[in-house]
Point group: C2
Chain length 124, copies 2
DNA sequence: AATTCAATTCATCATATGATGACATATTGA
DNA sequence: TCAATATGTCATCATATGATGAATTGAATT
């Protein structure tokens, strides 16, 4: 077994059995990409506040903007991204556009993450 | 009631009751920040693959790098970030550094997101 | 039709971030 | 001590991204 210039790890696993077992369980690249995109959307404070607000009920852009102290353009851009990934529903009522969470899983993600953060904060 | 140049929404809510109810339930800014940071860490495909691999068992940097086809420097940098937010545990065994998920909530986030994505993909 | 206002789109800018290579560190064994 | 190897750190670069203001669209009211 020839050794490469950069060491054994280039051609051989240290723990072959563990690697093979784990490799077989990895999600497909497509699924990972969509998951990462979803997490990424929740990974901005402003956008996360929008999502959290909507997890308690639908709101129009105008009220979201005022309540969060964020410009309407910014709110609108964030909602466009969230809509693109189907994280929010859209409803038009006259001049107003109402948004709400599209999916119980989204609220579930917030809840799970909140638990993690609280557990982390109390542990430190 | 004076109207501002930019309209009523600057000084008044459209749905005052809904806004007040929702505003009272918003998480604190600090908690939101940590949550966003956590989501953001999961919001990169490479890092998410690292986390998903670790959700099935601990691995060393070397095996992670080979298994995922990602440079060791990149893996190391990602693990440093994950360690900073305490998403992973660190264990040293001789020359090797083994990492594992720190928290069941992390695996829970992956599972919840996976369910969401699968539901979304089958719906479309 | 004209006006008003909420919402959206677009271009721009400053900043954040992931990948990479060079270099440093740490541990094992000769 | 010296060599080999796995890991970590740092600087750099290209790219991605959030905030903002100007311009536009769409709907209701007069």
């Amino acid at each position: 077994m020839a050794k490469s210039k950069e060491g054994m790890c280039e051609v051989l696993y240290v723990n072959t059995k563990a690697v093979k077992k784990i490799a077989a369980r990895m999600a497909s690249g497509d699924v990972i990409s969509v998951m990462a995109e979803t997490f990424s959307l929740l990974g901005d404070s402003t956008r996360l506040r929008v999502v959290q607000a909507l997890s308690h009920g639908e709101l129009c852009v105008c009220d979201l903007s005022a309540m969060l102290g964020v410009g309407r353009t910014a709110v609108s851009n964030h909602l466009r991204l969230l809509r693109g990934m189907r994280l929010v529903n859209y409803r038009r009522d006259g001049k107003l556009a109402y948004y709400s969470l599209a999916d119980d899983h989204i609220a579930g993600l917030l809840a799970e993450c909140l638990e993690h953060v609280q557990a982390m904060l109390t542990a430190s």
